[in-house]
Symmetry: C2
Subunit: 322 residues, 2 copies
C-alpha cells in the first residue's frame, strides 16, 4: 500500500492508517516503516478544524469531559480527533490500578480517533510532536481536534498555543480556582469549566472565578472568558459548554483574529522543532558537568563552552521561506 | 559597599544583601546595580547544603508544609533558604484574594530566607535561574535549600533534577495518588508525603501508594520511597518527614551517589543555560510563521531555515573545561 492509499484510507476513517501517519509525523521518519514524514506533510495539508485545548490538574475530570464532548460533537455529525498529552490520562493507557474512565462508547465509532502522545524522551520536543499531530488530523479532515494536557507548566502553555480555544477545567474543593488564576492561567484560558458542579463548593468556585474575571480590565471587543459548569459524568452542562466553545470560535472568526492565532500556532510549532534540533546539536559533555560539580569551572563558562563561543548573541542568517 | 562586603553581609544573614546577590545571579548581570554575576559565582562557591525539591498539585498544602519544615530545621539550628518556583505559591506574593498562609513565624528570623523565582519571561531559562539561586544560597552557607514547584510538567522534572531529595506532596480525595504515579512522578520522587492526613480518604491514599510501590521491582540497595503522612497545618508528622529526608541523604552519601547527583545537577544547569542562550540566538521570524500558516512551506522546512542549515546534526566543537 503506497502513501496515497494510506492517506485515502485514513481520510475514510481507517484507524490503523491514521495511526501509521501519526507515528510517522511524530517521529519525523525518513522512510522508516515505508513512510517519509515530509511526504506526508506535502500530501496532507489544509483542513479547517476547530482545535480545542483542554487543561487542568489531575483528578478534575478531564477525560470524562472529553468523552462527553465527543458524544455531543458526534451527534452534530462532526469527526473528532483527540491527542492526549496528559501522561496521567486514561487515554494514554498504562493503567496501573485500572482506569475508571472507559471510552467504550467511542471505541467502535470511525468518526472518533483517540491517541496518546508519548511524553518520554521528548525533552523540548513535546510541542513539536503535538503540533505535527494536530496538523495531520486537521489535514485528514477531522472537524474537531482536542489536545488534552495536565497542569499549568511551561509545556502546557506551549501546547495551549497550538489551540484555537483553550478550556481550563477546575473542580470544587481544592482552591484550584484561585490558585490557577494566580498562576497566570487566566492568560491562556478562553473558557473556564467548573466540573463536578454537583459537589459542595461548586457555587463558591464559580462565584470566585466570576469575581476575579470582573477585576480584569478589558478593551471593548476583547474576549470575556465565560464560566461554564458541568457534571461531565452525567453529561450535564455539555450543550452549554459546546455553545460557549462555538461562541469563542465565532469571535475568533471576526477580523484577523483566527489568522493571527494560526500564525502564532505556526510560530510555536517551528520554535518547538528548532529547540528539539538544537538540543540534539548542543549536548553537554559529561566531563564538563563534572568540572562544574567539582568547582573547577562555573556554569556560565561551561555553557559558553557548549555553545562554542565567547558570548556573541547575534542570530545566524534568517533565510526567508521559499 | 563592594562585592566582598555584600557577600560578607549575606553570609551574616543580611536579607537585603542576599536579595541583591540573588537578583544578580538570576539575571546574569554584567555589572548592572554594581554587581557582576560571574564575580559573584567566583566569590561564592562551595557549601554543602541539603537541596530539597518539593512538588505537588495546587491546593495540596505545599507552602504550609514548607513552613512547618522550616520550623523543624530551625529548631535543629540549621539555616534554611526557600526558592518558590511555584507561581501559585503564597510565597511568590501577588495575592489576588488574600493569602491563607502567612509566613509571620519566620519573617523576623535571620536564619531563614524565602524568595520567589520569577516565572515570566524565562522560557527555557527557569531551571537556569533556579539553579543559579540554589548554588548561591548553598555557597552563602545555608544548610538546607528548598525548591518549591507545582505540578508534574517538564519544568518540574528539570527543576527536580537540581534537588538531592525530591518530595511529592499529595492530598486525599482527588485521586492524586494514582494519577501522579501514572504520570511518572514515581521516577522523580524520593519521598511521598500524604498531607491533610486527618481527612477522609487519607488511609486509602497511603494504602494505594504503598500497593503501587510494592509493584515496582528494585535492585538490592536501591532506594525505596517511603510514604509519610502529615497534617502540616498542625505540624503533625513533620519530625518523621524530616527523619525520612535525612535517611535519604544518608543513602545518597553512600558510594558515588551524591557525587553523581551533583554531576547531574551541574549538567541540568548547563543545559538550561545553553537552551536559554540558543532561544535568544535562533528566533523564529514572523514572516516564516506566516508562510507556514498560509501553507506556503511546511514546519520542518521552516525549522531548517531558522537553523540556517539543510539538516546537519553534528555538534560543534565541545571544548573541555579548563
Amino acid at each position: 500500500m503506497g502513501l496515497p492509499d494510506i492517506v485515502a484510507a485514513a481520510r475514510a476513517g481507517d484507524r490503523r492508517a491514521t495511526a501509521r501517519l501519526l507515528t510517522a509525523v511524530e517521529n519525523q521518519t525518513n522512510g522508516e516503516n515505508g513512510i517519509d514524514a515530509s511526504e506526508v506533510a506535502r500530501l496532507v495539508t489544509g483542513g479547517d478544524a476547530l482545535i480545542v485545548g483542554l487543561t487542568g490538574s489531575p483528578g478534575v475530570g478531564k477525560s470524562t469531559l472529553v468523552s462527553a464532548l465527543i458524544a455531543a460533537w458526534r451527534e452534530a455529525g462532526l469527526r473528532v480527533g483527540v491527542l492526549a498529552v496528559d501522561p496521567s490520562s486514561p487515554f494514554s493507557g498504562g493503567a496501573i490500578l485500572g482506569d475508571r474512565v472507559r471510552m467504550a462508547d467511542h471505541a467502535l465509532d470511525d468518526g472518533v480517533y483517540i491517541r496518546s502522545v508519548a511524553t518520554r524522551g521528548h525533552l523540548g520536543g513535546l510541542a513539536a510532536t503535538t503540533g505535527a499531530g494536530v496538523r495531520l488530523l486537521e489535514g485528514l479532515g477531522f472537524d474537531v481536534v482536542v489536545v488534552e494536557t495536565v497542569g499549568v507548566g511551561q509545556a502546557e502553555v506551549e501546547i495551549a498555543s497550538l489551540a484555537d480555544t483553550t478550556l481550563l477545567l477546575l473542580a470544587p474543593g481544592m482552591g484550584d480556582g484561585i490558585q490557577a488564576v494566580k498562576a497566570g492561567v487566566v492568560e491562556i484560558a478562553d473558557v473556564y469549566v467548573v466540573n463536578k458542579a454537583d459537589r459542595p463548593g461548586a457555587d463558591g468556585a464559580v462565584r470566585d472565578l466570576k469575581a476575579m474575571m470582573s477585576l480584569v480590565r478589558r478593551e471593548p471587543g476583547e474576549w470575556r472568558q465565560p464560566v461554564c459548569t458541568t457534571v461531565a459524568a452525567e453529561s450535564k452542562g455539555i450543550d452549554d459548554l459546546v455553545a460557549a466553545i462555538g461562541k469563542h470560535r465565532d469571535w475568533l472568526a471576526e477580523g484577523d483574529r483566527l489568522a493571527l492565532k494560526r500564525r502564532q500556532r505556526a510560530a510555536a510549532e517551528i520554535r518547538a522543532r528548532v529547540d528539539a534540533a538544537l538540543r540534539e546539536r548542543y549536548k553537554v559533555p559529561e566531563a564538563l558537568a563534572e568540572a562544574v560539580a567539582d568547582g573547577e569551572t562555573d556554569v556560565a563558562s561551561a555553557a559558553r563552552s557548549v555553545l562554542g563561543d565567547t558570548g556573541q548573541t547575534s542570530s545566524p542568517s534568517h533565510r526567508a521561506a521559499s
